[in-house]
Subunit: 223 residues, 4 copies
DNA sequence: CATGAATGAGGTTTCATTCAT
DNA sequence: TATGAATGAAACCTCATTCAT
């Protein structure tokens, strides 16, 4: 899973523990200033390590980025696969509704890192980036599974599930990367309700048209 | 419209011409390596100017970013408003279909800058960023107008047009920022066809279900 | 008087007029920011000239400094020589008192340029600097003349007038370059009175001891 | 006492040692060309440090100026306070004479930095400058103490000691900043003798009139 | 295993001066 | 005579990485 990153340590378990720590702490620094503006001094401080120690467990600043993004994506993938897997007991429609809601709530809790991944994945070198894209693909695949199940059950009228799965994933992430606009207009709950309505109708599930939205939250122009 | 940027010249017409030139040439450099990695030396060279001359027309590297993003957004906005305005002669459904197709084709032609804007708008200072977000909002508004017209005509069964308008905009831009996945599966035409189907059904327009997609183009993991 | 400075003009009268103008206007800019921080753009603007025109009448930024300092020193010298010359009708003691007072008042009116000369004469090249030092020497000489007259008349008990003349000149200029301290304690009038008392007693002239000073003006720590 | 300057090191003792080193070495570079013309490359070389290392102990070039001036003033203040304090065993007149002589000799040994402080203190930012002015004030206060003691003992006929204290301080510094004139006429010993005579008579102490000065040293027009 | 002082290349920006118009 | 656009060297400062302790 983890791509090979240089380390001076031979205690693999220690390396893994430290890297997890770095992934968590560095994320805060990266998210605050962006990858390029964050400096290794600040990252080391956030990890409560000296620079020297930090460099025992990573080979370069880019490796820290890799750790951070990979960690965040792995947790996102875990969450989505769990959501998808846990919904076999209920109807496909209900499963899709619940899945979308849970994914949206997860994105809402991880807005900053979601946006960060959109912005900084470009700084990964090819192989690391490919690993991350693979995880993104597996997120889509988990959603595709939900859709395929509904199609097989005759509940969803859709044959090409890929586009729809991407749409669902991006619709959830939009809540983060278009928050400067969406949050003025919707609460998270309203957003979820509205988008679920659109999704279900797109795949041919009849719904009682979602209620209109009036309340406007003013959250200025935060990005 | 244009936020004030420092200049040593008082010849407003010259300043405007040079800045347009900078916006175009610098975009190529920025897109290649990202904002932070691009250096002003390279930008000046791309503009066929000395660094000194470059700094006669801008006050800082961040101003160049502002110029580039604002220029790109202004052209996107222009295009979308034109598309929206030019479609009053045809039925709302046909208008929406054509609009979505044209927007997607425009995004396809401007993939790199589309992605760049997602990644680097964060580097603008507050006021510049707000100006850019305002233009994004006007893009959404132009799409809302199309939807509202179809709703008023009774053709679209949708009451809250905002979410749908965002979805349409993001679906088109997805073609750029998820190209690493979508291009393996769809040609631009297939993508447009598939997504139009989903959009129309989400707003209650009956369509003959779009055909399934089989062909897979392998374009490696380019971002 | 004026050391040769490059000019592209052959109209000597025009050159002289423009240079006088430059000396006056540039002084304001130099005094505000210091010589090195002042830029030629700002100087040209203060002179209501284009950069090109400015460089028709001077050869370099250092020439402007020369013009400014020479102009200020020439006026100081003029003033002091006039003061010294105009006092032949009164007693040496009265002449010295009046001269000191007038010089102090002149320094008070020209505090900024007085300090500026202390700070920036170092930036003149050797020959220009020498010319300026010569003018300073002539200021001292004018004061020496006053002292010598009093000595010859038997009113002043002093044989080496040079040190005393320097002291008098520097005491007056101190009002400018130590204003951050002196102005908290003395008004100009009090300062003059107090210092005249000290000067006269140093050269053996009996005075009714100047009154004590109580009032404290708070002018913060301005330099 | 020392104003806070940014450092990347947390080893306070090391920081203090390095800064002392910088203050000493940078002074030579500054004095040679003035603050603005000196460049950090040259300063780092004079400190036998890389530029990177230099910037670990200071935050900006202006901080180096601050270090240099503060260091020089602190040593001047120390010297003057020591001189003033050490003279309680002798008569006020003798104490004043010795103090003036020692201060003049100290200025003579530190001519360049004395002039430098006159010229470049303006480049300090407000708070740093205020700290330096405070030290100057304490120098004056130490001299005031000497005068006050003589007044209290009935030896000096002077009530306002402030002006006289400033005069004494400036008279000593004059030896540096008017050396282009004074050194042509006086040796240091002659200068001290002559000025002590003037000082003592100004405060009402009878002296056998100081001898005339003939020897003229030609030291060209050095500033 | 842990530290953090040292490095120096490379970044952005300024500005005195020239010269074609 | 007057203009001001163009130049590019050189300035200050940052920061990822190493390595002796």
């Amino acid at each position: 899973m983890t791509v090979s990153i240089r380390t001076y340590s031979e205690n693999l378990e220690l390396v893994a523990r430290r890297r997890q720590h770095i992934a968590l702490c560095a994320a805060r620094v990266f998210v605050k200033n962006g990858y390029e503006r964050a400096n290794v001094h600040e990252i080391a401080a956030a990890c409560s390590m000296s620079i020297g120690t930090l460099y025992h467990y990573i080979g370069s600043k880019a490796d820290i980025l890799h750790l951070v993004i990979e960690h965040a994506l792995a947790r996102k993938l875990e969450a989505i696969e769990a959501i998808s897997a846990n919904s076999t007991a209920i109807s496909p429609t209900e499963a899709l509704k619940q899945a979308f809601e849970l994914i949206c709530r997860r994105i809402d809790e991880n807005q900053d890192i979601t946006i960060f991944i959109y912005q900084e994945t470009k700084n990964l070198e090819a192989s690391a980036r490919q690993g991350c894209l693979d995880m993104e693909m597996r997120c889509v695949a988990a959603i595709e599974a939900l859709l395929t199940r509904g199609y097989a059950a005759g509940d969803f009228s859709i044959r090409d599930v890929t586009a729809m799965a991407h749409n669902i994933m991006v619709t959830a992430e939009m809540w983060a990367f278009r928050r400067w606009s969406l949050r003025k207009r919707y609460t998270l709950e309203e957003y979820i309700t509205e988008q679920i309505g659109l999704i279900l109708r797109a795949i041919g599930v009849e719904t009682d048209t979602a209620g209109s939205i009036q309340r406007t939250v003013d959250t200025a122009g935060q990005l």
